[in-house]
Amino acid sequence: MKLQLKGVTKRFGTFTANDQIDLTVQPGEIHALLGENGAGKSTLMNTIYGLYSPDEGEILLDDEPVRFSGPGDAVAAGIGMVHQHFMLIPVFSVTESVMLGYEPTKGPGLIDFTEARRRVKEISARFGFEVDPEAMIEDLPVGAQQRVEIIKALSRDAKVLILDEPTAVLTPQETDELISIMRQLKASGTSILFITHKLREVRAIADKITVIRRGKVVGEATPESTETELASLMVGREVSLTTQKEPAQPGETALSISGLSVVSAQGKTLLDDVSLEIARGEILCIAGVDGNGQTELTEAILGIREAAAGTITLDGTDLGPKSVKQRLNSGIGFVPEDRSTDGVIAGFSITENFVLDQYDQPPYSNGVAMKHEVMRAAAAEQTSRFDVRLGTVDDPISTLSGGNQQKVVLARELSRDNRLLVASQPTRGVDVGSIEFIHRTLIEERAKGTPCLIVSTELDEVLNLADRIAVMYRGRIIGTVPGDTDRDVLGLMMAGVPAEEAKAQAATHHTVLGEADAEAEEQA
């Protein structure tokens, strides 16, 4: 089916999320929609899927204008969507998830479970998915959940499939599987609209690329365009994708973790016998797919999570018996993974957020009452040093963009003498301009001699910052490798293959993205 958008505009109040978008997806085409975080991609997808109704413009399917009053209409018209955050209910079974909204019934509204199961089995067989119809969604790994989403769309005879950031949670190898599924769907005539901000994927998979920036279509491209071309199109100016940095000059070991294990309340092992060391003036990056224990590792260092076994020593002091507050006060700078939940308090002012983890410390407080003027002065000074664009420091922090909020967090954590910096996903949800700034800031912190532990799921970021890379898989460190290790090797390690074996495998078999990587290097 051919999907066509003509002049689609969507406003929220005075904010124009999508401005006169024109887009055509031909039948059997894989069309990538490329744009930064906040460029308006998701709004556009939700408009196509009937979750929002456009303020202007029209959507055409096979040249017929359509109007959707809700996702139900869109689905009926043959549009399927796999959301970035899966629209699956954790306590439902696969069968229940797939049939929801389109339940086969018998008798007085009772569900025909046999028929529903049969449908799931039929579709999974057709595409070679192995999914147990009886499994509970919450028990399935992320990749399998994504396949359930695809089954869901296909079970409604989707002719146009929208995939919103489908690779965000996948390993490179899982991504490969997804890519082969996409090609299979394409061969059977399904049109695919594929949303991403990852340049490599686009070039590897797409037949055609549309780039949007600040809600507008800024250009079309083909997979033959170089990454730099795509990046500058996406961001609107020349960007340097890599940050220059001097080679590390590691000093004596500062942080030393040995045999660290963490067990969840349900008895699940989250961290299993993790040992690592970081020297002063060195950046150690933790690479891995989300949910392999990175969060727990940083939380254990901060003391939010109790260690079941093992020790953490910082400059010779055992952190074990220390509370979170003591650890922070002893000089651990901590940039949490999820800014909006852990890093800032949205309703608090910029000032209050600036002192968030030092509110009861001098000079901001005498321990009982807080000193508002001191707090405000310090917040004003440091936020301007970190180039935070703000009105006044009394405004709620929610008035700032994601990138500026993150800079407030960094200003807070880096405006004092740190003996250790732990930063998780320091650039997640941040615009490209701020990414450069944040990377530079982190490298400057290293130059000051601070040992840095940086967790990132973005291989680009890891390769950009790391002096050494530790790869985590299922709560373990699968191996620690130098900062310039090959992407394919890292990808295999992220899937649990030990370093040596990964090197051997990578030499014989390249992933689609790894090939794109090699290609990019050749071009450069």
């Binding site: 899927y49 979750l51 929002y52 809700g70 996702p71 139900g72 689905v75 009926a76 969507m81 959301h83 629209m87 699956l88 209910i89 954790p90 306590v91 439902f92 229940e96 049939m99 929801l100 909204g101 389109y102 339940e103 019934t105 007085p108 509204g109 009772l110 569900i111 479970f113 028990d139 399935l140 790994p141 992320v142 990749g143 869901k152 996948l170 390993t171 190898q173 899982e174 599987e177 067990v263 969840s264 008895g267 699940k268 092992t269 989250l270 299993d272 797919v289 989300d290 949910g291 392999n292 969060t295 727990e296 079941a308 898989y473 299922r474 709560g475 699968i478 899937a495 649990g496 293959v497």
Partner: protein
């Protein structure tokens, strides 16, 4: 949190040792065995050893009106209590064994233990008092007292399963009681009252869901305020219209008992279960229907989807707002019908605040029953039983204050939400307004 995102398993090279670790690290759950041991010891040391020697406990297992009547059963108090206590301790030992070997015991275990414990208590309470323990009255009283609780719990369940927290069950019961009394009195027919009651509950439900869905007001706050509103309105009308012209607006009407032929003649079970008003039979129907519909029907599946993850439901074309509105109003009607119990169900005129906190116990029953119709039914029956026991014991006179028994439902619920009775997992999106 990251605990919920399971690690991918594409290449499960190193999976094995981890799973072993998980089995090893699985903590032994001591809560239940320890509770059993403590209760068993209580039964042995207090209920058994404090019995005066030679005392006899008399149970009456039928009433004079029953189709088949039995003589009272006399048992030697000490011996019976001793046997019951030993059985309890045996069950406790079994629980310890199961805990150490990480074997899961079925639901029969706590139920059996509970029955033995209650029996031992009854033997002790009635020992040497010369009064009969009227088992039929006790049990049918328990059922009667559970009626508003069960209706209320079903109301809460339907609402919360679709994502609307309902603290206003109390108000819905009271409104139902009020309208039932007024309508029954005006038309001099208890059945008209029964028909009218659901409308009152539905109206309160409609207000709740209107504020919750249209204006995104915190549902707990709306619920609390609606309770005050209903108390205010019913009391106001009670003090004005209902008092000024009581003959017209507030005379007693009672739903007649309708013994079910055949079934009601079965000894013990018959008088306890099948000799009631139509309200009780309606309750059977509603509980039975819900226990199937919630899990096996299209309506139930969509309701649960809306309560767990409204956006996911929206993306498959389910109208979240409409589902919530309809279900909450429907739920309100159920509670309203339950409210009819207080007036036409018992044959009483309306009195101020006559629901007396039953709505909150209904809420408790729903939570203890884990948002499941059968579970809520059992919890409500348990609460009804403890109240009935309190009433019975206060007539025969025992050392246990009736207030303690009346407190029991609330105490049990606190233990339940504190995680003592296993993990309580409410619908994920409950209380969260859905905003596109």
């Amino acid at each position: 949190m990251s605990e919920q995102t399971t690690a991918p398993e594409t290449t499960a090279v190193h999976a094995e040792p981890l799973e072993q670790a998980e089995a090893r690290l699985q903590p032994i759950r001591w809560k239940f065995p320890v509770t059993y041991i403590l209760l068993g010891l209580l039964s042995l040391l207090v209920f058994t050893l404090l019995i005066p020697s030679g005392a006899v406990t008399q149970f009456r297992v039928s009433t004079a009106n029953d189709f088949i009547t039995f003589d009272a059963i006399n048992v030697p108090s000490f011996g019976t209590a001793l046997v019951l206590s030993i059985l309890q301790l045996a069950l406790a030992a079994w629980a310890v064994y199961a805990a150490v070997h990480r074997i899961r015991l079925g639901a029969w275990h706590p139920v059996l233990f509970g029955i033995l414990f209650v029996l031992a208590f009854l033997v002790y309470a009635g020992a040497g008092r010369g009064a009969f323990i009227p088992m039929v009255t006790l049990l049918s009283g328990a059922l009667m007292l559970s009626v508003p609780l069960i209706f209320g719990a079903m109301c809460g369940l339907v609402g919360e399963r679709s994502g609307i927290i309902n603290i206003a069950i109390e108000g819905q019961l009271l409104a139902g009681a009020f309208l039932a009394a007024v309508a029954a009195s005006f038309f001099t027919s208890a059945y008209v009252g029964l028909l009218a009651a659901p409308f009152a509950g539905a109206a309160v439900g409609a207000l709740l869901v209107w504020f919750a869905v249209k204006y995104h007001v915190n549902q707990i706050i709306v619920g609390v305020v609606l309770n005050v509103l209903v108390i205010g309105l019913t009391s106001f009308f009670y003090s004005t219209v209902l008092t000024q012209n009581a003959e017209l607006w507030n005379t007693r009407q009672q739903l007649p008992r309708l013994p079910i032929p055949g079934l009601s003649q079965i000894p013990i079970i018959g008088p306890v279960l099948f000799n009631h008003t139509i309200l009780v039979y309606l309750m059977y129907v509603i509980v039975f229907a819900l226990s199937i519909l919630v899990f096996k029907s299209r309506w139930g599946l969509r309701m649960r989807a809306v309560g767990e993850h409204p956006k996911a439901a929206d993306t498959v074309g389910i109208n979240v707002a409409r589902t919530r509105v309809i279900n909450t109003i429907l739920a309100g009607a159920i509670a309203g019908m339950g409210g009819a119990y207080f007036t036409v169900g018992q044959g009483l005129a309306f009195g101020q605040e006559m629901s007396a906190g039953q709505g909150f116990i209904a809420l408790a029953a729903m939570i203890l029953g884990r948002w499941n119709p059968k579970g809520a039914l059992l919890a409500a029956l348990l609460f009804g039983f403890s109240t009935s026991l309190g009433q019975t014991l206060s007539t025969i006179g025992t050392p246990v204050p009736s207030e303690m028994l009346l407190m029991l439902p609330y105490v049990i619920t606190i233990f339940a939400v504190a995680g003592f009775v296993g993990r309580v997992r409410p619908p994920a999106a409950e209380g969260v307004p859905y905003i596109k």
